[in-house]
Amino acid sequence: MRHANTIAAVAVAIGLAGVVVGCVTTPSDAETSAKAAAVLKASFKPRGQAGLDRLDQDETQKLCSEYAGKPLPKDVAAGIEKANLATIRWPADGKLMGDWKAGEKIAQEGRGMQYSDDPKLPAGANCYACHQLSPRELSFGTIGPSLYQFGKTRGYTDETRKYVYGKVFNAEGYSACTNMPRFGYKGILTEQQIRDVVALLMDPDSPVNK
């Protein structure tokens, strides 16, 4: 609850910053954005687990849409990162690493959150869609950087483990307007699933680090 209030307050601040920044662009651009949002709302229908509320943008989505293809002002970026960093729920027991084998399955799984998916099944993270991880998997995408030997090259430290957990939970806290989904904040992955993904990257026995 406290997290929700924090992000709301920071989001309002970002929103105000956005209005100030908006003054330098043409009013018609803001009007076009507002109209596009309304047109979208009228152009979709709820299906399965995907309701129309998915078209309601939060402040991060709104700002990242607005600045897409343009340079993101530093203060806007800092505001987005601060607000999102504040949403990260760290495991109460302090345990950040799970089982890399479970993490590999989560990294391979593309199902989850589409209207065609069974909402009763756990969602995957589909890491391989965008990243190289284990060298055994040749079918990997290139939207994100290669994460091969992630832990090995960065060192198996508490600091790096914490970074990975936080980044998977809410990547916008570290890199404003990144393409990476906010897996924890948006409820795509559970705490245990995130731990397992951390292990895939940070366990010395994981194939990622071989």
Partner: protein, 271 residues
């Protein structure tokens, strides 16, 4: 001397450096390219084109007339080259329309179908259910093969559709914060092994837009551009895109106009 000696060690060095990042990639991508080339030999899309031509010319609907008087923008009955200029603003309907929207309009006004009937089966389901709409799309688009894309922004309505389409392209939402741009605004990117066209620039839009509709081998279906957008939004974790909705037309306008100057080359065949 050293110039003669250098190629082999250099090639080895490249291979070693590339190994962690691209082990086996070359051969996999090569095999996919061969598979795609083999597919070009015969395109089952022709079956949809022929069925669509027959549907276009056959008297149908409550008024029992054909679509041969349908004005796709180049005058009543002119099919040749019409798709390469769509979407466009139609004064009679008071709206910017893409091909599917215009076909619905003609089925309602000329043939007497209700709008609901005209829209009820937009996408086929393999052998279980054929879509007349996708067949009509196959026929009309085939009549623009080789025609240079020339989508105009002459009217305020067309200009607004383009601007809205651009905003929709960059609109991030849903559980995963995805926009069209998330996957389609970088050069030489892939999801898994699937190449992603950069649709934010003219080069990528030209290459991609001109190869839809396409016969999808994996689905045994001819897929229209409306279907392509519909399935992209599903993977974007959005709700379902409504067939011929304003957002679908605006986004099509954005992409089609960006493809201007390229020869239209569809129905194509894809994996």
């Amino acid at each position: 001397m050293s110039a003669r000696r250098s190629p082999l060690p250099c090639a080895l060095l490249v291979a070693v450096l590339a190994a962690p990042a691209a082990f086996g990639q070359g051969s996999t991508v090569d095999e996919i390219a061969k598979y795609r080339a083999a597919l070009q030999d015969g395109n089952p899309a022709e079956l949809w084109e022929a069925r669509g031509e027959s549907l276009w010319k056959t008297p149908r609907g409550p008024k029992n007339v054909s679509l041969e008087k349908c004005d796709l923008g180049r005058g009543p009955g002119v099919v040749k080259g019409a798709y390469a200029e769509l979407p466009r603003y139609f004064a009679d309907g008071g709206r910017v329309m893409d091909l599917e929207t215009r076909l619905v309009y003609c089925m309602v006004t000329l043939q007497g179908y209700t709008e609901a009937d005209a829209k009820k089966n937009p996408f086929g389901a393999g052998n279980e259910r054929k879509s007349d709409m996708e067949a009509l799309v196959a026929y009309v688009t085939s009549e623009s093969r080789g025609v240079t894309m020339n989508v105009a922004l002459n009217t305020p309505q067309e200009q607004e559709a383009y601007r809205l389409g651009e905003k929709i392209f960059y609109f991030r939402g849903g559980t995963h914060d995805f926009a069209c741009a998330t996957c389609h605004s970088g050069d030489d990117k892939r999801i898994r092994l699937q190449d992603l066209p950069n649709l934010a620039g003219a080069d990528g839009a030209r290459k991609a837009y001109t190869t839809w509709p396409a016969y999808r081998v994996s689905q045994g279906e001819l897929r229209s551009f409306q279907w392509r957008l519909n399935d992209c939004f599903r993977q974007q974790r959005f709700p379902e895109l409504v067939f011929t909705s304003d957002a679908s037309i605006a986004l099509t306008m954005f992409l089609a106009h960006n493809a201007n100057g390229a020869p239209f080359d569809a129905p194509a065949i894809k994996r």
